[in-house]
């Protein structure tokens, strides 16, 4: 098949993916988008969620936490703050993070950044969802 394009998924601590693929579905701040070959050049920030990578009929999923996508003529780059394959996710850690964030949101301690707790919670839920599916 010639309808492939090059996708790189880069996180600060690693390169998650660097290969030719058929299609990727990813969640931006304005909603899910699917990218195929010959997409118009575009830049968009990402929210927290999962990306689905489809290659030769195989579907793979990965968790990511914010960042941005940069689609150019010959390659697409996803730069994210964190990206993991389901098998790399530490479920225990995600569960703990979820409890911690929920606790903070419920009890409204002083000096707690609510926005941050919310982000932490959605990151943890995202990881848990991807593993337990």
């Amino acid at each position: 098949m010639s309808s492939k394009f090059h996708l790189q998924v880069i996180a600060p601590d690693k390169i998650l993916l660097d290969e030719e693929i058929d299609k990727v579905i990813i969640r931006t701040t304005t909603g899910d988008i699917a990218i195929l070959q010959d997409h118009i050049p575009m830049v968009s920030p990402l929210s927290i969620g999962k990306m689905t990578i489809i290659n030769d009929g195989n579907k793979r999923e990965a968790a990511f936490a914010s960042g941005f996508i940069h689609i150019d003529l010959n390659k697409t780059v996803i730069m994210t703050d964190a990206a993991e394959w389901p098998e790399e996710i530490d479920l225990e850690r995600a569960k703990k993070a979820k409890e911690r964030a929920e606790d903070r949101l419920k009890n409204e301690y002083e000096n707690i950044d609510l926005v941050r707790a919310e982000i932490a919670l959605s990151k943890a839920l995202n990881r848990i969802n991807i593993v337990q599916k």
């Binding site: 790189q8 880069i10 996180a11 600060p12 601590d13 690693k14 390169i15 931006t28 701040t29 304005t30 118009i40 050049p41 575009m42 830049v43 968009s44 920030p45 960042g67 941005f68 940069h70 003529l73 780059v77 730069m79 703050d81």
Partner: protein
């Protein structure tokens, strides 16, 4: 040292030897740490380079878009983020960074310092610079959120117009034995000429809008520049320390050798003297 007795020489050998053991141990520790820091650096570099490139391209192709972080303004005060180590004993690592900073900032009154690492903080505090922020222990296991805090602070200063430009000074890790202090301008964002010249055939689309994208991307860019700088500095620090400790160990070895020679000479001299005395005594008895 010619007048030293045998016992003094022996004591000195012992003391040099224990120093040598310390420097040797530090050398081993820092080479282990260097290996770790280098691995870390290799993993982060693609991200660091990529984000720089992408930002450059985007900013170059959004010419005409007005944004607080891009439009330069008259410079009253300059902010510096200066990355040093927490501890010394690493050759010229800290002093090189500080020297670079001092030569870059022309007027003390117009500089505002964010010190990262204890050495830098102590230096600028002692000389009563305007210290707007201090962060300690950057080199041990640097994290992204640590860099984010520094970025947040510098953006806050910039937004409130307490500083009108922001530079970061760090040590670039070139190879295991070579490091170079570098000064990079963070704010306002400067467009790299080369990227700007390359005209695009197709216009980029920005979702939802160019301003929103820049709003999100520029802070991200700053954070990752700071993060990258910290990782580079951490690797350089370990490298510098390893080299410094290696040469300290070598020097100690050399010193021990020459002291041993002296010691043996003194020993021989005293034996010779004793024999001479015995022979002299025996001679007198005849």
């Amino acid at each position: 040292m010619a007048g030293l007795g045998m016992r003094d020489i022996k004591r000195r050998i012992k003391s040099v030897n224990s120093t040598k053991q310390i420097t040797k141990a530090m050398e081993l520790v820092s080479s282990a740490k260097l290996r770790k820091a280098k691995e870390h650096l290799e993993k982060t570099r693609p991200y660091f380079n990529m984000i720089g490139e992408t930002i450059n391209e985007i900013v170059a192709s959004t010419k005409g878009v007005k944004h607080n972080y891009i439009t330069p303004r008259a410079v009253e005060k300059t902010g510096y983020i200066i990355i040093t180590a927490d501890r010394g004993l690493c050759g010229g690592y800290n002093s090189n960074v500080i020297k670079t900073a001092i030569s870059h900032l022309e007027d003390k009154e117009r500089a505002s310092i964010i010190a990262v690492g204890q050495r830098g903080r102590d230096y600028f505090k002692k000389r009563s610079f305007d210290l707007d922020g201090e962060f300690l222990s950057p080199s041990e296991n640097p994290t992204y959120s640590y860099a984010h805090n520094i970025g947040e602070l510098s953006r806050e200063l910039y937004k409130q117009e307490l500083v009108d430009e922001v530079y970061i000074i760090y040590t670039e890790f070139i190879s295991t034995i070579s490091y170079k202090p570098r000064v990079v301008k963070l704010l306002p964002l400067e467009v790299n000429e080369e990227a700007a010249v390359k005209e695009r055939e197709e216009r980029m689309t920005y979702e939802p809008s160019p301003e929103a994208v820049l709003d999100y991307l520029i802070p991200k860019y700053i954070d990752s520049m700071i993060y990258g700088a910290i990782v580079e500095s951490a690797a350089s620090e370990q490298g510098a320390r390893r080299v410094a400790m290696e040469s300290a160990t070598d020097n100690a070895e050399e010193m021990i050798d020459s002291l041993k020679l002296q010691y043996n000479r003194a020993r021989q001299a005293s034996i010779t003297q004793e024999i001479a005395e015995i022979v002299g005594g025996a001679e007198a008895l005849k």
